[in-house]
């Protein structure tokens, strides 16, 4: 029993931790090749992420949207679809959030905030559900279609923000009209972090409860495990898959809405910084488990926060965090290959300890089996 717990601990905790440690090591080697001190880079990475109250605040601020965009990968993945278009859903969510005040009169208080966030979630949900529908009803590969939808979303976003929806007062940086003061998403009382963090964490917890604690979530996981088997036992696989896509898209759309309502106050190009792509990585590191997404998002939010410190102190390019993320992603996937190896090794050791420890060549084994067969035949005769 303790063996199997050891194995699952190794597979689910040690492997990702080792992969992350390995990527930090690789990153150190990489900056060393560029002439910077790796130790200093590691220290700055930690300091910039979790060193003091200010960096914690920066880290948590960045973690909030990552939790939500990671859900956009994790939930469809649990239903068997690999959706990587979270960036598109985020952009659409941000656009919807900024666009709703153009369409209808909104109350300029929390009620209005609630309405723009719902609009952003709905826009994101529709965007990713579309990828699910195309997959289920037309057989279009969802990985490619969701990514193409993402580029389309950015095209539509830029067209509207720089054209029909442009605020004439935004000169250098085309933006939509800013949201009214009262509708902005405020800070958590006593903290320097906005409510988006709470929304993100709650969304992750709820998604986990849905996935692991409800019948509907269980059915979704069955579909994700084997869609044909699920259809054979009568589960509505198409509906479950599209629902999972819509839920994931809603999360990513919400991330866009929160970024607009809490950080940028209007929709503009600052929204398109690759939060959707980092979310893919976060979800993979968390092994598509919504509960694990929360700490992993904080970790990668921290790396993002440390990026500017690395840039300032060590004069590294701002893309150094991207390199670190790339290494982490590659190693996390490579670590998949070692999944279950500890269990195999333990059971092999147990089996070989039980039998005679003498090594047997294949020739000896054939001889032994032939002797046993001969003996059996004699006994039968």
């Amino acid at each position: 029993m303790s063996d199997s717990r050891l194995v699952s601990l190794f597979d689910n905790v040690m492997l990702p931790v080792l992969a992350l440690a390995g990527s930090l090591l690789l990153f150190g080697g990489f900056v060393w090749l560029g002439g910077a001190s790796p130790v200093e880079a590691w220290v700055l990475l930690f300091k910039g992420a979790f060193g003091d109250a200010f960096s914690w605040q920066n880290t948590l601020q960045r973690a909030a949207p990552l939790m939500l965009t990671a859900l956009c990968v994790a939930l469809p993945q649990r239903a068997g679809l690999m959706v990587i278009g979270g960036e598109g859903a985020l952009v659409m969510g941000g656009l919807a959030c900024a666009a709703l005040p153009y369409a209808i009169e909104l109350p300029s208080h929390v009620g209005g905030t609630f309405m723009v966030l719902v609009a952003s979630a709905l826009a994101g949900a529709a965007w990713i559900a579309l990828a699910g529908v195309l997959r289920e009803h037309r057989g279009v590969n969802e990985t490619i279609s969701s990514l193409l939808l993402g580029y389309l979303a950015i095209g539509v976003f830029k067209h509207l923000v720089e054209g029909p929806m442009r605020d004439p007062a935004s000169l250098n940086k085309p933006s939509t009209l800013p949201l009214p003061e009262g509708m902005l998403l405020g800070l958590i009382p006593g903290q320097e972090v906005h409510w988006g963090l709470v929304i993100g964490a709650v969304a992750c917890v709820l998604a986990g409860l849905w996935l692991f604690g409800s019948t509907h979530g269980f059915a979704t996981r069955v579909v994700g495990g084997n869609a044909r088997a699920a259809r054979l036992v009568g589960l509505p696989s198409h509906r479950l898959i599209i629902t999972a896509c819509a839920l994931g898209g809603a999360a990513a759309g919400l991330a866009g809405g929160i970024e607009v309502a809490a950080v940028h106050t209007a929709a503009n190009a600052s929204l398109i910084v690759g939060l959707g792509y980092t979310g893919i990585l976060v979800s993979f590191v968390a092994r598509h488990n919504p509960w694990v997404i929360v700490p992993v998002a904080i970790l990668f939010g921290g790396f993002g926060a440390a990026g500017s410190l690395l840039q300032r102190r060590l004069d590294l390019p701002d893309a150094s965090v991207l390199v670190l993320q790339g290494f982490a992603f590659v190693l996390i996937l490579a670590a998949e290959a070692w999944r279950g190896r500890l269990g195999e090794w333990l059971s092999w050791r147990a089996a070989s300890a039980a039998k005679s420890p003498v090594h047997e060549t294949s020739r000896q084994r054939l001889q032994r089996e032939a002797l046993i067969a001969l003996k059996n035949r004699k006994e039968a005769a």
Partner: protein, 316 residues
């Protein structure tokens, strides 16, 4: 009156003629990277693997090509550097996917991130300078019209790409190597039964595919747009993946599809150049919309795609 009308009409016609010419020229200019990446992806997919990481390959090789051309002063050495960088990143994809339980689509996404990260990191000092560019073939020299000359100023890599497409189509059908690659893609059991290492074949096909895609990257940074910046490639590598599906894994059809997508991509800038600024971003998004429509049109939930390698994840 009628003279005026005629002049106006002919002005209108020449306007649309200009747009059509610009789109035609753009089809070749913008389509050349598509052609190389789609040929590379075609080879990879024929062997039974899908490499979404060609997007990262394209960015990294564009950077490497620009750096190579800048340092050696020779654009052709730049192309070589680009192809080598592309082959290296694709080799990593091939090796990673050969590990047990490692999914090729997820690896592709990871390499997309890694390739872009490495390119942006290493390419930071390359944003300002101007590197030696690839020569252009002046196929429009017979004409007096500067528009015609501009449209027919052909990327020297384009004829190479066309020759490569012909060569690949012939090699898939007629050579031992082509047969081995197709066998690895259609039935790994058959390949194993004949004593070929399926992983080995796929690693080679992916690496050579990355080499070809790398040439496409060089076309981006050394011909058109002809500089290095972080927005150089926005999804061309991924469009190429969809383009291979559209071309049904036939190299010659890849050529036609690349030109079609190049033309779609050139529409926005062409319209802007004649003063139609409206919807610039929407026209720029045309290739993505076109890809999506084509996928919706060609895919079917009921059967695998016609002509698809049997072992390919995307068609199952």
């Amino acid at each position: 009156m009628s003279v005026e009308l005629g002049a106006e009409l002919s002005a209108g016609w020449s306007l649309w003629g200009d747009v059509a010419l610009a789109v035609l020229g753009g089809a070749i200019r913008v389509g050349t990277p598509f052609l190389f990446v789609s040929l590379g992806e075609c080879l990879t997919e024929k062997s039974g693997r899908i490499n979404l990481g060609l997007e990262g390959v394209l960015v990294l090789s564009a950077m490497a090509g620009f750096a190579g051309s800048l340092w050696t002063g020779s654009a052709w050495l730049g192309v070589l550097a680009a192809a080598a960088a592309g082959a290296l990143l694709a080799l990593l994809h091939g090796l990673l996917c050969s590990l047990p339980r490692v999914n090729d689509i997820a690896t592709g996404i990871a390499l997309m991130l890694l390739g872009a990260g490495l390119a942006f990191y290493l390419g930071k000092p390359l944003i300002q300078p101007q590197a030696a560019q690839l020569p252009a073939l002046e196929w429009g020299a017979w004409s007096d019209s500067p528009q015609v000359q501009a449209a027919l100023r052909i990327n020297v890599l384009f004829p190479i790409g066309v020759a490569l497409a012909v060569l690949m189509a012939w090699a898939f059908a007629n050579t031992r190597w082509g047969l081995i690659v197709r066998m690895a893609g259609d039935s790994s059991d058959a390949a194993r039964a004949l004593g070929y290492s399926v992983n080995g074949v796929r690693i080679w096909a992916t690496t050579v595919g990355g080499f070809l895609a790398g040439i496409g990257g060089a076309s981006l940074s050394l011909h058109y747009p002809g500089s290095w910046n972080e927005g150089l490639s926005s999804g061309q590598g991924l469009i190429a993946v969809a383009l291979v599906i559209f071309a049904r894994w036939r190299p010659m059809a890849c050529l036609g599809a690349a030109l079609l997508f190049g033309g779609a991509g050139a529409l926005g800038p062409a319209l802007q150049s004649v003063g139609m600024g409206w919807g610039y971003h929407l026209f720029n998004a045309m290739p993505y919309a076109l890809t999506l429509l084509i996928l919706i049109w060609t895919c079917s939930p009921k059967r695998a795609l016609q002509g698809a390698p049997m072992e390919l994840g995307v068609s199952r």
